[in-house]
Structures are given as C-alpha cells and as structure tokens.
Symmetry: C2
Subunit: 369 residues, 2 copies
Amino acid sequence: MLAPLTPSPRIRRSPFFDATVADGVASFSVYNHMYMPTGFGDPAGEYRRLIEGVSMWDVACERQVELEGPDAGRLAQILCPRKLGGMKIGQGWYVPICDHAGTLLNDPILLKLADDRYWLSIADSQLRFWASAVAAERGLDVRVTEPDASPLAVQGPKAVDVVAALFGDSVRSMGYFRFRETELDGIPLVLQRSGWSKQGGFELYLRDGSRGTELWDKVKAAGRPFGIAPGCPNGTERIESGLLSWGGDTDWETNPFEVRMGKYVDLDAPDDTVGIQALRRIAANGARRHQMGIALDHGEPLPLQDRRPKVFSGATMAGRMTANAFSPRLGINIGLALLGTGAGPGDAVTVELDDGRRVAGEVRDLPFL
Amino acid sequence: MLAPLTPSPRIRRSPFFDATVADGVASFSVYNHMYMPTGFGDPAGEYRRLIEGVSMWDVACERQVELEGPDAGRLAQILCPRKLGGMKIGQGWYVPICDHAGTLLNDPILLKLADDRYWLSIADSQLRFWASAVAAERGLDVRVTEPDASPLAVQGPKAVDVVAALFGDSVRSMGYFRFRETELDGIPLVLQRSGWSKQGGFELYLRDGSRGTELWDKVKAAGRPFGIAPGCPNGTERIESGLLSWGGDTDWETNPFEVRMGKYVDLDAPDDTVGIQALRRIAANGARRHQMGIALDHGEPLPLQDRRPKVFSGATMAGRMTANAFSPRLGINIGLALLGTGAGPGDAVTVELDDGRRVAGEVRDLPFL
C-alpha cells in the first residue's frame, strides 16, 4: 500500500521541504506532525550511498524539546532513568524516557547545551506534553518549549569528508554524539556526530527555519565530489543495524529492557526519577519479552508488513514481527520482532504475513550486521 | 500537493481500514498515529451527501483516553477547566484541556461512562501522556489507558433515519452528545449523538476492533435506502460551521478564549484544576487574539493553503489564516484565521497565499453558516 497523502495545516512542512521537492522527493510519512521524506525514487541507490558513500536526509521531524531554566538539569534527571551526573556540556546521551510504570514513552538523544539548557531530540511521540506536565506538577523552575531547530542528517562512510569540507578537519576527531554550537556562512547551527544509521555521520540542527533551502544547497554542493544525493532514514539499514523505531517496534507495554535499552538504565538513579521504582521491579523479575531478529526463508523481497504479523513457535504465539526488509548485503529477508523470552537465537519460527501467507524463519541475535 | 504516503508500522490501521479500501478510499491523512481516510474520489458528492443526505466516516483515529478507577472523576476535573459536578452518566461534554499556562492541548469530548470511568475522545495530540503524567504525579488511584473503541461516524440530516433503522426509533430522542452502551447483532458499541459536523448525526464507537468490516457493512446496508456512501471529516463543512481543528487552527500559544471555547471554561472551577489560575489571568486581561472567518475575493476555488498564510490589515500583520475551502453553499472561498483582536467583522484584509499571491478578503463572524 502506497496511498496518496492529503495536505493539512495540522501537518507541518519542514524547513527543507521545498528543497526536497526540488530534488524530487517521491513519498512521505508523517512523524511528529510533520512531513518526513521517505524516498527519492531510487531505493537501491539510496541504500548503496548510505552504505558506501554519503546521503543527506531531511529529518526536521526529529523535533527538539528544550528544557531551559535553573531546574533544567533537575528536570532532565527526573525524566531520565540514567544517571546524568557525569554529563558534560557538548555531550549527547541516548536515554530511555519512561512513564511511572516503566513503559517506554520515547528514546531521545539528550543534549546538554548548558548547565541550564538541555534538548531532548525525540522520536515520534509528544514528549513535550510529558516533560511539561512533570515539570509543572513538581513545581520546577524550567521552561519546556520547542526551539527552532531542525536536523539535516549527513550519513554514510563519506559523511565525515563532506562535513569536514564545510566545517574543517576538526570535525574528524569529534566523538560520537558530541556536538557544538556553530554556524555556516552565518547560518546558526548545532553540529553533532549522530544520526539514525550505523554508517557514521552528522546531524546539522538548523537554528533558523527560514534558511532551510540555503543549508540544504550548501551541503549538497559540498557533497557533490563525494557523490552525495538525497535519501531518508533507511528502513533496511536500521533493521540490519538493530536501531529502534519507537512506536513501530514498541507497544504500550514495552519497557527499556525488552528493546535492548537496559544498558541505558541506571537502577541507582535518584529515587524521584519517574519510573525508577517500576524499572527496579522489572529488572528484579526479568523482562517478559525481548527484541530479536528474524531471518525469513523467502526467496524474493517481501513487501513491508505493517500490521505486526504474529510469530509462532510451533503452535504457540511467540510474539509479533514489528518491521521487515530485504537486506541487500545479506541477500535475505530480515525482520525485527518482540518475542517472549522463551524464544531465543536459532529457534525455528513461523511468521503469519499480513496477507495470511506463512513464512518460516529463524530467530537471530541483533544486530544482523 | 497530494503526495504518496508510505506505510509504516508506526502508523496504525483502523478496524475499518479494509472496508474503506474495498469501498475505494482515495487518500489518507495521519491522525493520532493512524491512517484517516480523507476522500473517496467524489468531493462534490461527499459534500452534498453530508449536507442533504447521509455520509459514513472512518474516524477510528479519534482515539479514546480512558480514565478508570476510584479517582477517575477527580482526575477528569483536574484536567478540565469546566465544572463537571453536574455531569451525569451517559452525557458527553465538550471540554478544553489546557496546560498549566492555559495553552490548549486538545479539545476532546469527555464521556462519563460510570462514576469511576470516563473517556476523553481526542483530537490529534497525545493526551494520554498528559493525563497519565498528571495522574501519577498527583498520586491518584486511576488507570489511564487506550480502550478498544473506534468511532464510525454517520453524519448528515438523514443520519438519524439510518441509525433508527439499526437501533430503533428511541435514538431519535437522544440529546446532543448523549450516549449509551449497546450492541448491534452482538457487536459491542457505544452509540453517541455526535460527530465533527453541524449536519447532525451519530458516532458508533466499535468496542471490538476485530469486527470493523462487519459494522461498516451493516451501516452501509441500513443506509442504502437513504443514499449513504463513504465520506470523511469534511474540511469545507467544518469551516462553514466554525468547528475547531486542534493543531490546524491552533498553535503553541492558543488558549481556549482565542478559539471560541471560553463558554466551556468555568473560572470558578476548583483551584487544583490544571491551568485554572492562568485562565483566570487571561480572562481578566482579555485574550490577545480571536478566531474569525475570512471571506476571500477570488473567483475560483483556491487550493488548500497549508502553510498558514499571513493575513494583513493594511501594512500590519493581523494574524494567520489556518484553513480555507470553497463553500458550495456560499459560492465563495472562505477561511478561518487567528487574528489580533484589533481585527474585527467587516475589516478589509489581505491574505498572502502559499505561492506568494495576495488575495483581498473581509473578516467575518463565525460560523459562516
């Protein structure tokens, strides 16, 4: 199913929207109430450039929730069940955000811009509601807002060369998730070593929404010698690499331990951290499910299954497949699944596809690659 | 712009999805992380049936947030700056939900199903996050969940005949927003006199997501003598009627007084109601903006402007137009706008369209019809 999407003032355009249209964007999804490009008509080329070259993505829909004021650091710690005490200005940390029952509400990158200013760079859920409710209910002195900050991602092994051509060779030594506030020919930016792929790269958070086309064109020009072309968050590469899609891979019972985020939970986080008591209980009892890979026995590329197909181990339902793709590098269909902990690597399973067909598969450890 | 929409497991299908596909759905939007049909290929006929006959809509994306438990009523009152003391089981009330600064977060219908069970039937924002944060932070004994409840709307002057054919003539005397828990040939439902149009009608909240096609087909069969056909929430009729689209007509500074919801705010609501202090201040100082209509001087139907065009009064920016449509009944282009209170009915304004053209117009009171 690839259906026409009607415009609506409810759904915002990215600062890079016009530039992506000029560059032939072929389809969209909706993410955080914004249009997100999902392809430029050349899926094989877009995948290849991400794996071997360099790709540029309009990910403005990865919105920021800004915490600003004397209690910003305190609010960040209350929201994140990961000890933030050692966090330095200029660092970004991957954090789970949970409700009071330990259910995962989002999996943002937390950026510390100043002692009194943090950003949560969010997945597709309205974390602003959550953060502002908790801040106000606890009487904290902090403002929760959405700043004018729209990421443009440059991803792939040659991304560093493109970004070095724009910002100088010092970017080559930036650590992962490190960022700096900077500018490009007067365009205000936050430059971070990050992005939703495992191929390396940077995100340029545009700080002036009126200058999207200008930034897009500068990145494109700098990338030309390296074969850059527009792409988008790549559903195939992210499954190969085992990156999480909140809301796609998760449901309303998913806790961080189930989706391989346990290493970002500190059980000795302060007692007033939202969800920490529940997370301690879950950790003590052991998670009920875990996210695993599935290698599917099917000769040709399967279409995206978007109804969370059931996964069976014999006659027993073991869980659901939450995403799938044909991996060009592995030459097989692969998927992500949320399975009961009884199902482990090497187990034979059957997946009931959206159209009712059944396909055999094998449970695999993540990442695939 | 009518762009292809890619499928994603992040975006859920409605229980009526298959039925709408079988009936030729032509396009979608995304609303509350679900696909929402936006047309069946016959806009003129869909409008006419809504105004003169009867139309059926998949509005499963109008999700419910259930408050359930001993403190459900207390939480409802804390969330709603409208005094709920007189509310009876079986009533639905239109309520603003605001943050602590009085900013509108959603404009749901609150349904009282029991003394300890309420639903918020929501517009396009994650009110579940808001409600569950406030509930937990206040230590209330209440569960905040999403029930299996997916509305199918039957709208138009003949809707009552269709619904009477299904449920009996007693539905004819149901008051507006009144509802009852019932069933149709064993399909569990909540039946409410409601819907996002001013043409009259009902919403059938399907309580078993596996039976969507069955319910759709029963409504279609009962409606056949009355000329029913599938439609969708109608952007033209709702502008004519002055119905609010949260997120479309509102921004991050909109309070209820600005968008004609002041009559649903009780300034003497309990002091522990979220936002009530801010709303009292805003009411005392007077709102800065107000939602008005604009009649546009333009001979032919204008396309939907989805970038919130600027509205000028002389050389001064008066506000933004948030929605527009060509009204078949009025024979003119009309729009909704959030304007400074300096601009009032009869004022001449100029609207700068998305493509840069300028169109003259006149400010009008709402509703248009």
